[in-house]
Every structure is written in structure tokens, then in C-alpha cells.
């Protein structure tokens, strides 16, 4: 089968357009044409590149120099394309491109589904596994550095600190790391646990407490964070989430990257809620283990929740005491039989810490 068309030939030495008659022989798989100075060229179809550019078709041949023929006859171009397809030398990229816009929209949906699944299932899983690999010394190092830097500007109450450490020593906290408590004089109603076992308690939160069982509840909660390496887990998850988002969406465009970042922040917030929940549950176990009244934890939460009306302390905004959390504790109290007895020593130490 033979097809003919006119084209414009560029010889690769100059930009002079030369009008030619181009003959395509499908059987011989060749393109044949004559130039003005009567030279005949025969191109093997296998070595000819066919590209659509700016609504025209370009046949490219050779690499140095590249010779070009521009044609506008789309029937002719499609015949060449069909032959290349039949001979199986159409790349799979072109096959994917030829599938059309509907398929590409489907690809888009598929890509977003993969990203979504990867983000919500694969990333947290990998992060969790990564924590096991990271040595505990790293937690300690991280905590120490943070502690040293932060305590420089804080007013440490040495007397209360000593009493609080004695208080904690009376308790069985199921801890694997050595714990060190510090009381900082500050109206902030907050307490936080560092990954190395340093637990910082602000006097603001101590002042809101009415009974020693509330303090046991708080300590139990914070120690659970340390025991479960929540800080490290949080860091691994945030970091891997961030890497995932910026790797997949960073190159796309700013709006997608921003959306990704915000999803990541929201997601990390829900992750931190999960940790708070875990710490509440273990805090409850620690209370029971130490034969303290678990109602203290519930009372503490209620008091902290009331506080919200006065101001919004950091403790509440970073892990808000929701009605959910209080209900959860109350449910634990109802469900689990517990016994408690008044501990005079703890009570005495608690009064020391408070005053």
C-alpha cells in the first residue's frame, strides 16, 4: 500500500524549507522523497520518530543532525502510526497517552485513591515500625536537650520539686526509664512529659488540685506518655507524613502542597488525641495499681474543663479535656472494680507540694 503527501523537509544543516513529495510504502516500511537537487532519500520507518507538535506532524530522522519533515496530512500521519503500532514499536508511554481523556481522569481518581490509602494506612504503620528501630538513647538525648534549654528560663521550685519526687517514689508507675519530676513556678495550668523521663509540672495545675488522688491521676497520665514513647511516635509520624506530603504533592503545585500540609496537621492532631486516650487508659491502670481513688482523675479533668471558661490554658488547647474523655474515665470507673485506701504518706506529701 502506497500513500503520498506533500511535506516540508529541513535537512538539519540550514533552516531553508524544501517542499517535497513524500511517499510512504507500508510494505517496504519506508518513506521516500527527492530533494530539489534531485537527491533521493529512503528512511526506514523503524528509525523515524513521529511527533505531533502545534497541530502539525513531524517526522524526525537521524540524531546529528536531526532531519525533519513537517506534514499536515493527518491521514498520512495515522497510516505511519498504524504501521508502527502493528510492528509493535509504539512505546507503552504512547499507548497510555492514546487511551484518551476519560482514561486519564480515571488515572487521576486512582492516583488520589493510592495517595489517600498510602497516607492514612501506610504512613502511620511505617512510622510505628520506625520507632522500634530508633534506639531509646535517642529519646533520652532529645528529652535532655529540650529540658536543658527550657529550664534555663524557668523558675524551678526546688522544695516542691523534692516533695513531688518523693511523692512519685511512693507510687508504682510501671516505668522502664528513670523518672525525674520538676515543679516550675508558673500560673500555666499544664504539665508535660519529655521522652527521656523528665516530667515538668507547673504550679498552676497543682494549685487547682483538691486531693492527692488527682495528682496520682496526672502523674499516671504523663508517665504513660513516657512508657509508650509517645513523643517519638509523634515525631516519626509527623516527619513521615511531612515527607510523604512534600514528596508527592510538593512538586505538583502550591495549592495542593498547602492542602496536603493542612491535612497532615489535622491528621497529627487526631493522632495526638489517640495518644491522650491511650495515656488516660494507662493512667487509670496506674491509679488502680496504687490503690488510689480513680475518681481523682475524673475530678481533675472536670476542674480543668471548668478552667476553660476563665482562660484557655495551653494544656487544654493542645489536648483538650473533652466531655468524651471524662465520660471515658467514668466508664472505666464503673466497669472496673477497684479498691482504694487512704495513703497518709501521699496525703502529707501532697500538702507539702501544694503549699
Amino acid at each position: 500500500m502506497i500513500a503520498k503527501t506533500t511535506g516540508i523537509y529541513f535537512d538539519g544543516a540550514s533552516a531553508i524549507p524544501q517542499e517535497i513529495e513524500l511517499i510512504f510504502d507500508a510494505e517496504k516500511s519506508t518513506l521516500v522523497f527527492n530533494t530539489v537537487n534531485n537527491q533521493t532519500y529512503i528512511w526506514d520507518i523503524d528509525l523515524v520518530g513521529l511527533e505531533t507538535k502545534s497541530k502539525n506532524f513531524y517526522l524526525e530522522y537521524g540524531s546529528d543532525p536531526i532531519q525533519n519533515i513537517k506534514i499536515t496530512d493527518s491521514d498520512f500521519a495515522h497510516r505511519i502510526k498504524d504501521l508502527k503500532k502493528a510492528k509493535g514499536n509504539l512505546s507503552w508511554y504512547h499507548k497510555l497517552m492514546d487511551m484518551g481523556i476519560k482514561a486519564h481522569i480515571l488515572f487521576t481518581v486512582f492516583i488520589f485513591a493510592v495517595i489517600g490509602l498510602g497516607y492514612f494506612y501506610a504512613v502511620p504503620w511505617i512510622a510505628e515500625k520506625a520507632v522500634i528501630v530508633i534506639p531509646e538513647e535517642y529519646d533520652s538525648h532529645l528529652g535532655e536537650t529540650f529540658f536543658e534549654q527550657n529550664m534555663l528560663f524557668n523558675d524551678i521550685d526546688t522544695r516542691k520539686t523534692k516533695a513531688l519526687n518523693l511523692f512519685a517514689k511512693e507510687l508504682n508507675l510501671k516505668n522502664t526509664k528513670k523518672l525525674k519530676f520538676t515543679v516550675v513556678n508558673s500560673p500555666i495550668v499544664n504539665a508535660y512529659a519529655l521522652p527521656d523521663g523528665n516530667i515538668v509540672v507547673f504550679s498552676g495545675i497543682l494549685n487547682t488540685m483538691k486531693d492527692y488522688d488527682e495528682l496520682v491521676g496526672l502523674i499516671g497520665h504523663e508517665v504513660a506518655h513516657v512508657n509508650h514513647r509517645h513523643s517519638m511516635k509523634m515525631m516519626c509520624r509527623n516527619l513521615s507524613g511531612y515527607i510523604f506530603v512534600s514528596a508527592i504533592l510538593g512538586d505538583a503545585n502550591a495549592v495542593m502542597a498547602t492542602i496536603g500540609d493542612n491535612v497532615n496537621n489535622l491528621q497529627s492532631l487526631s493522632f495526638s488525641r489517640k495518644f491522650e486516650h491511650e495515656a488516660d487508659a494507662e493512667g487509670f491502670e496506674i491509679i488502680a495499681l496504687n490503690k488510689t481513688n480513680p475518681i481523682g482523675m475524673s475530678n481533675l479533668f472536670k476542674r480543668l474543663q471548668d478552667k476553660e471558661f476563665v482562660s484557655i490554658p495551653e494544656f487544654l488547647s493542645s489536648h483538650p479535656i473533652t466531655t468524651d474523655r471524662i465520660n471515658y474515665i467514668n466508664k472505666l470507673i464503673k466497669k472496673n472494680p477497684f479498691e482504694f485506701k487512704e495513703n497518709a504518706k501521699l496525703k502529707k506529701l501532697f500538702l507539702e507540694i501544694k503549699n
Binding site: A15, N56, Y58, N68, Y93, H104, A247
Partner: protein, 319 residues
């Protein structure tokens, strides 16, 4: 006498790319990049550039980008080795307990890569770009450029950044002035002082107008870049002229923003094609060089290392 009176020739620059076509390219690229865990990236980049160049035409004939994924992948591996070497030096000095020296070495190393990356990426990009089979080329000298680069950088640091206007214009003049389009030479005649004043004016007027002037500032910058660019061949030349307007940029930006926000970013392809169309519609060329007489003069250059370093450092390509 007759020669120089030759009537001027017509030149027509156009961008013909459609958003839907570019969307398909982006999506297939994305799919393959994800399925290959990122290894397809150089090929994806080649496809993207082939489309953008191919859809740009001068007097009805398309430009071509001949770079391949394979070339850029090789460059990518080399860059990886260079970066790995820099980081191993960094960790060596950290291990030897001199962290400050380690950081200095890392930063100096990356800084030293910059002129190489700029030089390399221009040589590669230009050599792989053609029109009617005639290659572009970059003839800058790497050593000369690197020396100037660090000299300008030194002045910029010494003047607390004031010299940066001169630095960017000098760099532009050097790079663009060394670009060849076959046997046609590019020239760039920007002046650091003018550029500085332009930015000073743009900055303050933008503040006074609560940001609205930013579009006109952008227009003036674009105009400054384009109007200072010209091409010459012997005594013949082509002057470039920008016809963009502040209002045009304003409309372009707002519509682009609406597309991006409305489609949650998926409409990116249309934003690119609209922008390219606007830019090429607003560059006029006037002069008397007969483009039919362009000759192939520039050599092939297939080393994409500089191009890939540029990618790593997130460098923007000027042209």
C-alpha cells in the same frame, strides 16, 4: 546600500498547547512516577518539556526539545554521587567533632555547585532545543562565569544585598549574551542600576497600593527583560518587544487562582497553558534577519548533570 534597506521580515511566536493535552501528560507522568517509586521522574520531565517546547512555534514551525529521560537519569545519578560526597564530608567533620567546619563545608560545597549548575543546565537545555532542526547553543565559558559569579556574590554580600540587582542583571546579560540560535547571536543589554530603580519603585508602589501595583511591577519587569533582549547576525538584527499589560497580568493571575482553588490544584495544566499562551502572545519580534538562512553551527551536548543539579537546588530556569 540596497542590503541594509531590506524590508523587515515578519515573525510570529505562538503557544498552541491545550490544557487537556497537558493534563493527560501530567497525569500519565504522575502515574508512572508513583508506580516506579520516583525513578520515572527524569523521563516525566523530558515528556513535559517536549510538550511545552513542541507546542511553541515560530512562524508556524515548532520548537523541539530533544533531551531524553536517559540523559537526565545519568545526570541525576552523577548529582546523587556529588551530594553523597558532600554529605560524607559533612558527617566526617561532625564525627571529628568540628560541626561548624562541617556546616561551612556543606554550604560552600552547595554554593560552589551553583555556577556549575547554571552553566551546565544552559549548555544542556540549549543544545537540546531546536527549531527546523537548527540547534540552540550556549557558548559561555565555565571558568569565566564561575569567577564572575563569585565576584558578584562577594559584592552582594559586602553591600548587604544591595548589589543583588546588578548581580542578577550581569548574570542575565552574560548567560543570554552567550546563547546562539544557529548562527544568530542573542544579546541582552540590561543595566543593574535601571533594574534596581525599577524594583525600588515597584516595591514602594506595591506597598502604597496595598499590593495592587504588583501586577504592574510584574509587567515592568517582564517588559524590561524582553525589551533588552535582541538577536543579531552580522549587521542584521531582530528586536524583541513586550506588549504585556498590568491589567493582563491581573486578569491572568486572578483566573489562574480561581482555576487552582476551584479544582483543588488539578487544574494546574490549564494554568500553565494559559500562562504560556499569554506570554508568547505578548512577545513581538521585529527585524530583518531571514530565518530561512539560519545555519547549523552549535554542537551537540548531552550531559544533563548541570540540569539535574539545578533541579535538586530548585533553581529556576531563566529562559
Amino acid at each position: 546600500m540596497e542590503e541594509s534597506l531590506q524590508t523587515s521580515t515578519n515573525y510570529q511566536l505562538e503557544f498552541n498547547g491545550k490544557g487537556t493535552e497537558f493534563f493527560s501528560i501530567i497525569i500519565v507522568n504522575w502515574l508512572l512516577t508513583i508506580l516506579t517509586l520516583g525513578f520515572y521522574y527524569p523521563w516525566a520531565k523530558a515528556r513535559k518539556l517536549q510538550f511545552l517546547y513542541g507546542e511553541t512555534s515560530l512562524n508556524g514551525d515548532s520548537f523541539s526539545f530533544h533531551g531524553t529521560g536517559k540523559e537526565m537519569f545519568k545526570g541525576f545519578i552523577k548529582v546523587l554521587l556529588i551530594i553523597a560526597f558532600l554529605y560524607s564530608l559533612f558527617f566526617l567533620f561532625v564525627y571529628l567533632k568540628s560541626p561548624i567546619l562541617a556546616i561551612v563545608i556543606l554550604y560552600l560545597g552547595i554554593l560552589a555547585l551553583l555556577p556549575f549548575a547554571i552553566h551546565g543546565s544552559y549548555r544542556y537545555r540549549m543544545s537540546r532545543t531546536s527549531w527546523r532542526g537548527i540547534r540552540f547553543g550556549y557558548r559561555g565559558d565555565r571558568k569565566e562565569f564561575s569567577v564572575s559569579f563569585f565576584k558578584w556574590l562577594f559584592f552582594t554580600i559586602l553591600s548587604f544585598g544591595l548589589y543583588s540587582s546588578w548581580m542578577s542583571i550581569n548574570m542575565r546579560n552574560y548567560i543570554l549574551g552567550n546563547i546562539r540560535f544557529g548562527d544568530v547571536e542573542f544579546n541582552s543589554d540590561g543595566d543593574g542600576g535601571d533594574y534596581f530603580m525599577l524594583n525600588l519603585k515597584g516595591y514602594f508602589l506595591t506597598i502604597f497600593t496595598l499590593g495592587i501595583y504588583a501586577f504592574w511591577w510584574q509587567k515592568e519587569l517582564f517588559e524590561y527583560y524582553i525589551n533588552n533582549l535582541s538577536m543579531s547576525k552580522g549587521d542584521k538584527e531582530i528586536a524583541l518587544n513586550s506588549t504585556v499589560t498590568g491589567g493582563g497580568f491581573l486578569k491572568l493571575t486572578i483566573v489562574n487562582l480561581l482555576i487552582i482553588i476551584g479544582t483543588l490544584g488539578i487544574g494546574y495544566a490549564w494554568v500553565v497553558t494559559r500562562t504560556m499562551k499569554y506570554i508568547f502572545e505578548n512577545i513581538e519580534m521585529e527585524g530583518n534577519i531571514d530565518l530561512n538562512l539560519l545555519l547549523q553551527t552549535e554542537e551537540n551536548y548531552k550531559d544533563a548533570t548541570g540540569e539535574d543539579v539545578g533541579d535538586f537546588l530548585d533553581m529556576d530556569f531563566v529562559m
